[in-house]
């Protein structure tokens, strides 16, 4: 029995190490001085120089601020939009509901590239290319399908009889939605908020195509690093670690909501 226990512990340990290793290695690299970065596995000099250097780069700091701002705004607005759409999908039957559900499923399948390429022209002709708005609005749109679907699942799990009771007692439909359904969906909304913030913070393709010099975001700046200064691994690792920090903090605090929220 104890042999099996040891095997179990060993297996779990190995798996954890395997999953954490790339991140640990990145952190280790970011702490090495420039001279030692190619031999991360050798030597024991550590320094925070790379972080200092990175945080003095105006463009990188700007990118962090932009990413944070866009992710936060996108989270707020996509929640407003998708919670009501998910509620509708869960509570109503009929032609409107099934048409909307079909549309959501079809658009969920459409690859991003098919609508992000022309979005380049759309945002330019509406004069919002390379601005906050030009990145924010597509980001809200991109999550509608998936989040409406998730939200429908959450509302399906909430007993609607309280809302019916409220309606019978003279509450309006809006009242039943805002005062009865919404408060009981708060854990699900929290899960969605965490996911939405992470998705937007981590998103790359939209930002690559829809932003230029004026509105740098962090993922694009990092990818440019790779292609333009592919040898400065210490700076790149430091930037990547810094980009991981907000996501990590959010995940840590939102973990229990996310785990509950990931249940289908």
């Amino acid at each position: 029995m104890s042999a099996r226990r040891a095997f179990f512990t060993l297996a779990i340990g190995a798996v954890c190490l395997l999953f954490a290793f790339p991140i640990l290695w990145l952190m280790l690299t970011s702490l090495r001085p420039q001279s030692g970065v190619y031999y991360v596995h050798r030597g024991l000099e550590f320094t925070l120089d790379s972080y200092v250097h990175v945080l003095h780069e105006e463009r990188i700091v700007q990118a962090f601020l932009n990413s944070g701002l866009i992710a936060t705004a996108a989270t707020v607005f996509s929640l407003i939009v998708t919670v009501s759409s998910g509620y509708m999908l869960s509570r109503f039957r009929g032609p409107i509901a099934s048409t909307w559900f079909g549309a959501i499923y079809v658009f969920r399948c459409v690859p991003y590239i098919s609508w992000v390429l022309p979005l380049y022209f759309v945002t330019q002709s509406w004069d919002i290319y390379d601005t906050y708005l030009g990145l924010l609005l597509p980001h809200i749109a991109v999550h509608i399908c998936f989040f409406s679907w998730l939200m429908k699942g959450f509302f399906d799990g909430i007993d609607p009889s309280m809302e019916y009771a409220a309606l019978i007692d003279g509450c309006t439909r809006w009242g039943a939605f805002f005062r009865v359904a919404l408060p009981s969906a708060i854990p699900a909304i929290a899960a969605l908020a965490v996911l939405c913030w992470l998705f937007t913070w981590n998103e790359f393709l939209f930002a690559l195509i829809l932003t230029g010099q004026r509105t740098p975001v962090i993922t694009v700046v990092m990818a440019q690093f790779v292609h333009e200064m592919g040898i400065e691994w210490h700076l790149m690792s430091a930037t990547a670690v810094l980009a991981l920090v907000p996501a990590f903090v959010l995940t840590l605090f939102g973990q229990r909501y996310v785990i509950r929220g990931l249940k289908i």
Partner: protein, 298 residues
């Protein structure tokens, strides 16, 4: 009678208002661009010289007869989709089964497993790119330490493809694990107790109880992941840039390269639409399966 009709109207108005903001956003930022893209795919639309003259199916003919698209991009994309989903499903299921029992440190293990979920694909690709670096990467250092020869991983087609696949599996296995673990924990206990009393072997319990009861969750996971894996862009772009010699390009990258590097928006759009049509068919087929196993539509 009149009263009832008015009540129905009010109900319809309410449902429409609930979806109105979402529908308007989708119209402006998904439908409109897709229509523009479809229009552009029939026109001579160079980014630096947009003549916008009608060329009919010229771009589609070009894409569908491009050996790079038929012999590299499409096989790559499908191989990537199938392998990535299959590997992360098997690994994720194994981990979920391993974790599906109380033990000390479970919270810690769960947190570690959550790590890849919060990592941006771009960052994951940067990490792996550094680890697979041919001169200084830790993988080659370790290989040389045990007397093997280091490989230029990212400059050979299949090892580069393998690195892309590995990054994706690393990113998404935890997602499968968490969803399947949640599924496992919500299964009823009685059948398992009955099986234990009957003395069924672990394999038989897994094969005839766990797997069938878990099927709805597995199907949903596989459908969602397959659609997303098909359009993977960030990892490839950051890890190999589609190289060496465009041999690891997936479909999204192919469309991007045509539109923004070759400055041929018409061909890029045609490629995007061809790929979109393919995944729509695949997605619909998967949806049929899903709908048969668990009813999801209203």
């Amino acid at each position: 009678m009149e009263n009832k009709a008015r009540w129905l109207g009010e109900r319809e108005r309410f449902t429409l208002l609930l979806i109105a903001p979402a529908a308007i956003l989708m119209l402006l930022f998904q439908v409109v661009p897709i229509v523009i893209g479809a229009n552009a795919s029939f026109r001579d639309w160079a980014l630096n010289d947009p003549k916008k003259t009608w060329v009919g199916l010229e771009h589609y003919r070009h894409v569908l007869s491009d050996p790079a698209f038929l012999q590299v991009v499409l096989p790559n994309t499908f191989a990537f989709m199938v392998l990535s989903v299959a590997l992360s499903l098997v690994l994720g299921l194994a981990l979920a089964l391993l974790l599906n029992r109380p033990f000390r440190g479970q919270k810690l293990v769960q947190t570690v497993l959550l790590l890849p979920l919060m990592v941006a694909p771009v960052i994951a690709a940067i990490m792996l790119r550094w680890m697979f670096n041919d001169q200084f990467g830790i993988i080659n250092v370790l290989l040389e330490a045990i007397g093997l020869e280091g490989q230029p991983w990212l400059t050979q087609r299949w090892s580069a493809f393998g690195a892309i696949l590995l990054t994706d599996v690393w990113l998404w296995t935890p997602w499968f694990t968490l969803l399947l673990l949640a599924g496992l924990q919500s299964l009823p206990k009685e059948p398992f107790e009955a099986a234990a009393i009957d003395g069924a072997s672990r394999w038989r319990v897994f094969r005839h109880l766990t797997l069938p009861m878990l099927r709805p969750v597995i199907v949903v996971c596989v459908v969602i992941r397959s659609i997303d894996a098909f359009r993977t862009f960030d990892i490839v772009w950051t890890l190999t840039g589609g190289g060496p010699a465009r041999s690891t390009e997936l479909f999204s990258l192919y469309a991007y390269v045509h539109a923004f590097l070759n400055l041929d928006f018409g061909t890029g759009s045609a490629a995007a639409i061809v790929g979109g049509a393919i995944i729509l068919v695949v997605g619909m087929a998967l949806y049929r399966v899903l709908d048969r196993v668990v009813r999801v539509s209203p």
